[in-house]
Symmetry: C2
Subunit: 365 residues, 2 copies
């Protein structure tokens, strides 16, 4: 049997998994067409609707990680030649643009400094100039710690018949994600961030407007595995067999969602914010500085510049892992070697975890 | 917490999961870039090489179910306009053809009756006529119970510069899958059949010849998530971050592979064959008949016609599930309503399971 260390997971994900979620993932497997599994899927959908704050019927767990969820949306919502306006202010915006291109989209990017959010007025102006078929932005940029406001974008997108797409991999259940109120047409997340479930599934939700686009495509979806015309029939409607769902991962997601709703969304958001402030003040006291825009920074993912005393940042992170079993993240993309990313997500967003992080960090700075 | 029945899984998959595999899936999650997880990945690769009977460096667990593994091979190995010859003698051959089409392939199918295997000489003749860039066949057709011989195909495929691809979702570790000896260029399986691990990953292996094709593509791979130029660097080589691997599913696969090798491949094949013969004789004694070609039928998946006393086959299967917690499969595709599929896979291929199956079946026929 595998012999593994128990880590404190405070990087950009995966996050610490609650004991009852690990119990759920180890329940005896049942069939993907079993009526009892259909019940589990229905309950997962109902709970995801609450967490996404949506009534979207087409709300499901894509059978891959967050990266697969993003690809599912791009593959289904983009037809060859469709114009896409995609915000790139970090690694994950860039990936969305790449996925839209591979789906055949004619992609324009809008860019701003890494660590900053887009001014919605600037985005709206670009929408008015380019009238795109799709606008996609990242709500919580895991590579930079930037939080993107989304509340005023839909009107302009819809005025020209476009769809508004959101990456909320890192924000879902740690920050308000108001799919219906903000009129987001499609969003995807991951199980391994604030939901504190192991990685392997991607919660996805699509509006009727988005599903109309999918159902009326002139060209087949690039991907058979991610084709919502097929996957959607398995998750609702005819229940037709498509692929063998990752059954035990869905058990884990079911329990993780149950824990989220038992705590309550508002209480969970407040806990993430409270613990973030504790960590932030303590890091500032130790000579760290925040590299993301202070007015648009994430509570669950802290992008920080380490003190000058840290001359070998990779070595310091390796010591945190080897001596304290603490995982934090290095910088990604153009921030590699320059920043650390410290996550306080889901089950790990707790006072005692902040104390453990600080104790370990004090030993290496 | 979820309250679920404990099922006897004897349909076409998922199969019963060994207790130690459920222990492994519930180990505390660690990071996908953790050196300890890299060790787990290395050990998984080494064990998969033994099970696939290959030395292929590019042997990895695709982060999706078997259907994703098939799509990974089609997306990476087919460029727009490539000619593909695909054997269709059941549902899963048809799916391979569809995936090759979506990857841009110019697909010709070769067909035979459902339940029959292809005569290799007939396939070789079609290869000589069409000189395809790819030939893909299903080793173990889960929809029909047919076993496809593969030992004589490679020479003709390679003579015209093509690649030979195998779906071994249902056969791997239940029947010999000799990747190197048969000169298969690429193969994919699923974790939930004879490996007896929960569904969610797809073991995949590619030869150097296949990877040359991937590395020298003129066009980008349709899928970013399944792009072997990127995924391959995470599984070997630079270890560059691509997506967040389904960590706990990989723990489960590690333990499932360890159990396979502890038993030994030959002993495992013999166990599948022995238990299959027990079930087969008992079913014949009860008035069942086998619907697949007796010379090319699978031990782990029994395609049978039920006795005439069964007038409501769906109702009978529902009784097996509700009263005996026994899942067996109905017919798929053009066999729907006409046949049952009874699986004896991996951890479930045991004498005591045969007894439980027969006891339940006796109550409904």
């Amino acid at each position: 049997m595998l012999n593994l260390p128990t880590r404190l997971l405070h990087g950009p994900g995966p996050s610490p998994v609650a004991p009852s979620v690990l119990e759920a993932i180890a329940l005896p497997c049942i069939g993907h067409m079993d009526p009892q599994f259909m019940r589990v899927m229905n309950e997962i959908r109902a709970m995801m609707q609450q967490v996404f704050q949506t009534e979207n019927e087409m709300t499901l767990a894509c059978s891959g990680t967050g990266s697969a969820g993003g690809e599912m949306l791009m593959d289904n919502l983009v037809e060859p030649g469709d114009t896409c306006l995609i915000g790139v202010n970090g690694v994950f915006g860039g990936r969305l643009a790449e996925k839209a291109r591979r789906a055949g989209g004619s992609v324009q990017t809008i860019e701003t400094d890494w660590g900053k959010a887009f001014d919605q007025d600037v985005v709206i102006q670009r929408i008015e100039e380019t009238k795109p078929d799709m606008v996609a932005l990242v709500h919580a940029e895991t590579s930079t710690g930037a939080l993107q406001p989304f509340d005023r974008l839909a009107e302009a997108v819809h005025r020209y018949g476009g769809l508004l797409v959101m990456d909320c991999v890192t924000s879902l259940s740690g920050l308000p994600v108001k799919i219906d109120e903000w009129q987001i047409d499609a969003a995807y997340s991951g199980t391994q961030k604030c939901l504190s479930c192991p990685p392997g599934l991607s919660p996805v939700t699509l509006s009727e407007r988005a599903m109309n686009k999918v159902n009326n495509r002139q060209t087949p979806v690039n991907s058979w595995y991610l084709d919502l015309n097929l996957v959607g029939n398995y998750w609702s409607g005819s229940r037709a067999y498509h692929h063998t769902a990752p059954v035990n991962m869905n058990f884990a997601l079911h329990e993780a969602l149950r824990l989220v709703l038992e705590e309550g969304l508002e209480a969970r958001f407040a806990r993430h914010e409270r613990v973030h402030r504790q960590l932030k003040q303590a890091l500032l006291d130790r000579g760290f500085s925040y590299a993301s825009d202070p007015e648009h920074s994430l509570p669950m993912l802290n992008l920080v510049q380490f003190p000058k005393s840290v001359t070998d940042e990779a070595g310091a992170r390796r010591r945190l892992l080897d001596e304290f079993n603490l995982e934090i993240g290095g910088g990604l993309g153009k921030l590699a070697g320059k920043c650390w990313r410290i996550g306080l997500m889901g089950h790990g967003a707790r006072e005692e975890n902040v104390a453990a992080i600080l104790q370990a960090i004090d030993a290496v700075i």
